[in-house]
């Protein structure tokens, strides 16, 4: 590794594990397979959700990922959010124990077409967000399959209403999002963007220069994307080593450490 790399400790905010519908031929979706690919790309740790939970059964997906994460301390389990009203997710009043037992510090809300939630529907999430706010739990908004980001009003209400919930958003691609993101970064210190869909040339340099090094979070969208895509984006970025460390994993590591289950 030359001076542009240092000894980065990548921590992936957006990684799937286990079976899903359209795997790459030959993909090893097991824990062992994931860890091998992480090693090849130089990724130290990953926040993993069960890929099956995106379109499949949420209860079994969350159970599955909790078991998977116990196999390696490099994997941090992430649960998909569902509705406690229909019994697919623990009621907030009773969620602390199963989340703590599973070691879950990040919850993931999939939004957009063919997702559990068509949009950022805050009235349906108020109880859970209150629970998360008390514990500083991280909310990952998975909008990578949606045509557009959640509405600005909904995002602003979320960030205003639950200021202790770090909100990380992943989007499909860069286009049309900067005007929204920049406005939110100016107003809220607990809003973060995950990099796998934020692919524009110079975005790491520009965002870290304007807003500091702790607003972007490394993520890969594996296995839909390969690990190397965002790894190279970060490795080749023109930023100082401290900033690169924050983007690669330092910021997310801090957020995980601040969760109090």
């Amino acid at each position: 590794m030359d001076s542009r790399c240092g000894t980065l400790r990548f921590l992936d905010a957006n990684c799937g594990v286990g079976p899903f519908f359209d795997p790459h031929p030959g993909l090893d979706w097991s824990v062992e397979g994931l860890l091998a690919r992480m090693d090849e790309a130089g990724i130290a740790e990953s926040c993993v959700h069960a890929s099956s939970g995106v379109l499949g059964d949420l209860v079994s997906a969350n159970r599955h990922v909790a078991a998977i994460a116990r196999k390696s301390d490099r994997l941090h389990p992430v649960w998909h959010i569902g509705s406690h009203h229909v019994g697919e997710f623990p009621a907030p009043a009773a969620a602390a124990e199963p989340l703590a037992e599973a070691g879950v510090r990040m919850l993931r809300l999939c939004g957009g077409r063919q997702s559990r939630y068509a949009d950022l529907e805050l009235p349906l999430l108020e109880d859970l967000l209150g629970f998360m706010n008390d514990r500083r739990m991280i909310l990952y908004l998975d909008w990578t399959r949606a045509a557009a980001a959640p509405a600005a009003a909904a995002l602003q209400s979320l960030l205003r209403g639950w200021p202790s919930v770090p909100v990380i958003i992943g989007v499909a691609k860069t286009e049309q999002h900067d005007r929204l993101f920049y406005a939110l970064w100016e107003r809220f210190g607990h809003f973060y963007v995950e990099l796998s869909g934020y692919q524009g040339l110079g975005v790491i340099e520009e965002v870290t220069r304007r807003f500091g090094g702790d607003r972007l979070v490394f993520g890969t969208r594996y296995p839909q994307f390969c690990h190397l895509q965002t790894v190279l984006q970060v490795r080749y970025s023109h930023v100082d080593e401290r900033t690169r460390e924050l983007v690669a994993g330092g910021t997310l590591r801090r957020l995980l450490d601040e969760v109090t289950l």
């Binding site: 030959g26 049309q176 524009g200 895509q229 190279l232």
Partner: protein, 273 residues
């Protein structure tokens, strides 16, 4: 014009971790690999706030070690001015920039503008884009028979046509000596499949949702000799877009065809780099 052989190059095994990938993982300059980016724009557009300007883009390309950037001016509303701007930029950075012309049938004779771009600006390719030029396929194609002359002229002059819209399947079939490169072809496998038997049809890799998997699908459709690597910069990061090739599991020779050799061949750059 020499077209691809159709050889399939999907590889695996011990050679799959090649030196190109290793160099990238170390964030070294990749200049020695002669990488050519076939799909780069000059300027800005409405959909994204683009933090980099042209000079920054070149600096970023040099930092990664991209050897050549094929730059077009589709973002410019005035075609003549856009071509002049690209040409001036290419002249200032002749070591790096390969100028591509843009055309628009609503702004005068396309063939005259193309001749000007070839003779005065030494453009080595043509980019056509329906959306940015206010043109809408397929009507824009049908309404202006002059496109046939444009395609013929490109064949005679050895200019590949990088197309996003405008070009029809029939164009690819009828104009056999014209090299047509489907922009974002990696994200349009159905259309690539329809035209896969046409040796003058190429596809580029620029697409925001591209992955090694989509590249392997493309290789299976048209073989490794008719794919050129493109980033779509400044809308995309050079290194991020290179990764789909480097992490594909294709052997290094095939990777080098995609990121360098195929483009060098259709741009007739042999011996220049």
């Amino acid at each position: 014009m020499r077209h691809g052989s159709g050889d399939r190059g999907v590889g695996s095994g011990p050679e799959r971790r090649a030196s190109l990938r290793d160099a990238a993982l170390r964030a070294e300059s990749l200049e020695r690999f002669g990488i050519i980016d076939f799909h780069v724009h000059l300027g800005t557009w409405a959909l994204s706030y683009l933090p980099v300007r042209a000079g920054d883009m070149l600096e970023a390309a040099r930092h990664v070690g991209i050897r050549r950037l094929c730059i077009n001016g589709i973002f410019g509303p005035c075609i003549r001015e856009a071509n002049d701007e690209v040409a001036a930029f290419a002249a200032r950075h002749a070591d790096l920039v390969v100028p591509f012309a843009v055309l628009n049938p609503y702004q005068g004779s396309m063939t005259e503008e193309l001749v000007r771009c070839i003779r005065e600006h030494r453009c080595r390719g043509l980019k056509v884009h329906d959306f940015h030029q206010g043109m809408h396929s397929p009507s824009i194609r049908e309404a202006f028979p002059e496109w046939d002359e444009v395609w013929e002229m490109c064949a005679r002059a050895g200019l590949p046509v990088l197309f996003h819209g405008v070009v029809t399947d029939e164009d690819v079939r009828r104009h056999r000596d014209t090299v047509f490169v489907m922009a974002h072809g990696i994200g349009n496998p159905e259309r690539v499949r329809r035209l896969a038997d046409r040796p003058n049809l190429y596809a580029d890799t620029s697409w925001s949702q591209a992955s090694p998997r989509s590249l392997l699908d493309l290789v299976r459709l048209v073989g490794p000799d008719r794919i050129v690597w493109g980033s779509d910069a400044p809308l995309a990061d050079f290194a991020q877009r290179l990764a789909i090739v480097l992490d594909s599991g294709l052997d290094e020779l095939t990777q080098l065809k995609i990121v360098a050799g195929n483009a060098r061949r259709i741009l007739r750059l042999e011996g220049r780099d």
